[in-house]
């Protein structure tokens, strides 16, 4: 199995921006920011470059400061052929049946190149602006129910009945099916990814794309045990449904216990911030042994020499003003992920020779950065592979340039090493 690499989609207007400082969250959440508007020209350029660079998917982030992710994926997907879209969405914003109808429609419009990143929501203020008044733990309890209902829709052709604390569905039926990808050259190269061609009837691929057995590998019986919560009554014809009613891959992000539990019960992959391999090793094994993949979110700065990489990384440090505002966002959040990241930045700075948390106070929790030469970075990624990590979602400054460097200088080294290992 080969490592899977995804990239963060730039915000509106970002592809044309020259400096890292302009792209900081502090700048892009200002009322005047172009991030509020779709940027089809910039996104089309970026998406095509991503396809050329060997990137499998782009992650579209969700917030009130940005256009809706499901619709952006739909529009950009009209101009790309193989790029995948990991659509981030918060729960509590729509009925699960409506969400399934939208995702299924999207899958039919972009040849199945869609997966989900479920986010419980990291800001209470922002959630209330959407009409969601639950607290952190309740949001996760609701997410559990929400995804149970979604997966019931995806796993069968019959009716969905569900009575929970947050979701209630009676004789639910969504006629538009989820269309799985028919062609994903990047994924086809790997043995445990989620290719499901209509002609492919092997038991393996069917298991992997049908709702309740969405787990990527391992022990579905075991994982099912984790599935707490209300009963789901599912009727219909399983043979038929497995062929035609598969669901998307589900990335669950978050560091809290509730997020981890949700990833184990409802997800196909746990998405978390990068940490050192030693710190991650035990957790990753735990997820893998439960049939759930692990995907790391990180940034990269790659230059021909270590000194150049360090200089480029330090050049990203922004103004004091941005620093103050970003620290405010991080410390006010009720998300464990954000708090962990700020703590790492404050206490260590360099987490090992290549992993730097120095940008977190300025660019947010996802700015933990791998810094180094192409061979340094390739070695680092392979080190994560050794402990069981399978996927990465990367960003850089600027996103497009750093992605091209990665595709050109780093990825070939990784693929060569992987091929050697496989022989």
């Amino acid at each position: 199995m080969k490592l899977r690499f995804h990239w963060m989609m730039p915000k509106g207007g970002e592809v044309g921006m020259k400096t890292a400082q302009e792209t900081s969250r502090v700048a892009t959440t200002k009322a005047s920011s172009p991030a509020a508007l779709p940027d089809m020209e910039g996104w089309t350029r970026f998406a095509r470059c991503a396809e050329d660079a060997g990137i499998e998917s782009v992650l579209l982030s969700f917030s009130r400061y940005e256009p809706d992710t499901i619709l952006v994926a739909c529009a950009v997907g009209q101009v790309t052929t193989k790029l995948g879209f990991i659509v981030a969405y918060r729960l509590g914003l729509m009925q699960p049946a409506t969400f399934v109808q939208q995702i299924n429609t999207l899958s039919g419009l972009i040849d199945g190149h869609v997966s989900l990143n479920i986010v419980a929501g990291s800001s209470t203020v922002e959630q209330r602006g959407y009409g969601d008044f639950l607290d952190h733990d309740e949001r996760y309890a609701r997410a559990e129910e929400f995804l149970t209902v979604c997966r019931a829709f995806w796993s069968n052709n019959g009716e969905v009945n569900f009575t929970g604390k947050y979701c209630h569905v009676e004789k639910g039926k969504i006629f538009t099916p989820f269309q799985a990808a028919t062609s994903t050259p990047l994924q086809a190269a790997t043995s445990t990814t989620s290719v499901f061609a209509p002609s492919d009837t092997s038991e393996h691929s069917q298991r992997r794309r049908a709702g309740p057995e969405i787990y990527v590998s391992g022990h579905p019986e075991h994982s099912q045990r984790h599935r707490a919560g209300p009963e789901v009554y599912v009727s219909g014809h399983p043979e038929h449904s497995q062929r035609h009613r598969a669901g998307p891959e589900i990335y669950v992000s978050g560091h809290s216990e509730q997020a981890q539990h949700l990833a184990l019960t409802q997800g196909s992959c746990w998405l978390r911030l990068i940490d050192t391999p030693e710190n991650l090793s035990a957790t990753v094994s735990h997820f893998r042994s439960n049939g759930v993949e692990v995907c790391l979110r990180l940034c990269v700065v790659c230059r021909p020499t270590h000194e150049e990489a360090l200089a480029a990384a330090h050049a990203l440090l922004p103004s004091e003003e941005i620093a103050r505002e970003e620290r405010g966002i991080l410390s006010r959040s009720d998300s464990k992920t954000l708090k962990d990241a700020l703590a790492a930045a404050d206490s260590v700075g360099w987490m090992n020779r290549n992993l730097w948390a120095g940008l977190v106070p300025y660019y947010g929790s996802s700015a933990i950065t791998l810094v180094g030469t192409p061979p340094d970075l390739a070695a680092a990624f392979l080190e994560y592979k050794k402990i069981g990590v399978t996927q990465f979602i990367i960003a850089g400054w600027p996103k497009l340039d750093e992605m091209m460097i990665f595709g050109h200088d780093v990825l070939p080294l990784i693929r060569a090493a992987e091929e050697q290992q496989e022989q």
Partner: protein, 367 residues
């Protein structure tokens, strides 16, 4: 201002690119689009693009994209189709109760920016309680309207550009709501809002929150006072109708005859238990032939299919001149817009643009 003409977007798989489809075949496809074997639930960008270009060429302003569990989501359909055609607008039908109003506004605003402002909104309260429950909505007809009122009040607050939206209602609550993505259009800051339905509640909702009241065509005499009332309140009136146009009235009636179901008891409206409009439709009794008196509201308004498939199958029938006359007559009583359907849709919209619309525009210019 001239009359505005919109068209129904055909269902997935309905458009035949070779144009070889009889009126009956096209109508049957529509009637059977709710069966599990239909291709209607699947997006059909090729067929839709073909239809949309034909509609643009015919002088049609917008297409209505309907909402139900039997079809793809209309937000996404308009987003994708809007990348392929550059003039046509999209009227997105959506029910309240399916998502938070802030999320709805974020989606509507995003679509507006992705299709250069060519979107409008048709709010539907929902006509089937079984279908609503499948979406997680357990309110009654009147409660759904009360909720729709709140839903649109919140949406309109966002669209008015209030810095922060605060709302505490029975069905929705929003605190410090802010959305960065604006509604993007050259000439407006919010979408036009079509409120459809025949009940008093829908009429009141159209006045309080909408820009246009959408209802099924009836005889002009019967509509005149209703239309006048709505226009007085500053709201437009849009009529939904089907079109059956042939060189002569006799030929059109012959086609109508062919559309009557073999099974005279056939009905696709049994689930529509919770709608004033469908209750009215049920009071129309089936006629034995297309020509029988029971099937006509006046000389050109035929209801032969209504008992079987519902009020939206009310059909304006005749020669191009007769149809143009009827549309002009509606214009005289204050109707401002129409949303039309025909069998097959593509051929009918082309025919409308070629034979009927020029007559309408000519009469408008000379009257």
């Amino acid at each position: 201002m001239g009359l505005r003409f919109h068209w129904m977007l055909p269902k997935g798989g309905e458009v035949r690119l070779d144009g070889r489809q009889t009126a009956l075949e096209a109508a049957r496809y529509r009637i059977e689009s709710m069966s599990t074997s239909s291709a209607a639930p699947k997006p059909d960008l090729r067929g839709w693009t073909h239809f949309a270009r034909t509609a643009e060429d015919a002088g049609i302003e917008s297409v209505l994209i309907s909402f139900s569990r039997y079809e793809p989501d209309p937000f996404l359909v308009s987003c994708a189709l809007g990348q392929a055609v550059k003039k046509l607008k999209f009227i997105i039908a959506y029910r309240s109760g399916l998502m938070q109003p802030a999320t709805f506004v974020q989606q509507m605003n995003t679509v507006s920016a992705l299709v250069q402002g060519r979107v409008a909104f048709n709010i539907v309260a929902g006509s089937s309680s079984e279908e609503q429950r499948g979406y997680g909505d357990f309110l009654s007809h009147d409660e759904r309207y009360a909720r729709a009122e709140e839903f649109l009040a919140v949406c309109n607050a966002f669209w008015r550009g209030e810095e922060e939206v605060n709302f505490a209602g029975r069905h929705y609550r929003v605190e410090q709501g802010r959305l960065a993505t604006p509604f993007v259009a050259t000439d407006q800051t919010r979408p036009e809002i079509y409120v459809s339905g025949h009940s008093e509640r829908s009429e009141a909702l159209a006045y309080s929150q909408g820009t246009c009241w959408l209802r099924v065509a009836e005889a002009p005499e019967k509509l005149a006072p209703i239309v006048a009332r709505a226009r007085e309140r500053g709201v437009g009136v849009c009529l939904r109708l089907c079109l059956l146009c042939r060189p002569s009235r006799e030929e059109a009636i012959e086609v109508a005859e062919s559309l009557l179901p073999v099974d005279r008891d056939e009905s696709t409206t049994t689930l529509k238990d919770d709608s004033q409009m469908y209750r009215e439709g049920n009071s129309v009794k089936p006629g034995d032939t297309a020509a029988s008196d029971a099937c006509w509201l006046n000389r050109s308004l035929w209801t032969g299919l209504v008992p079987h498939y519902g009020p939206v199958w009310t059909t304006l029938l005749g020669s191009p001149r007769e149809i143009a006359d009827a549309l002009i007559e509606y214009g005289r009583i204050g109707v401002t817009e129409f949303i039309i359907s025909g069998w097959p849709e593509t051929e009918t919209v082309a025919l409308f643009g070629r034979e009927v619309l020029p007559l309408v525009r000519l009469r408008e210019a000379t009257d």
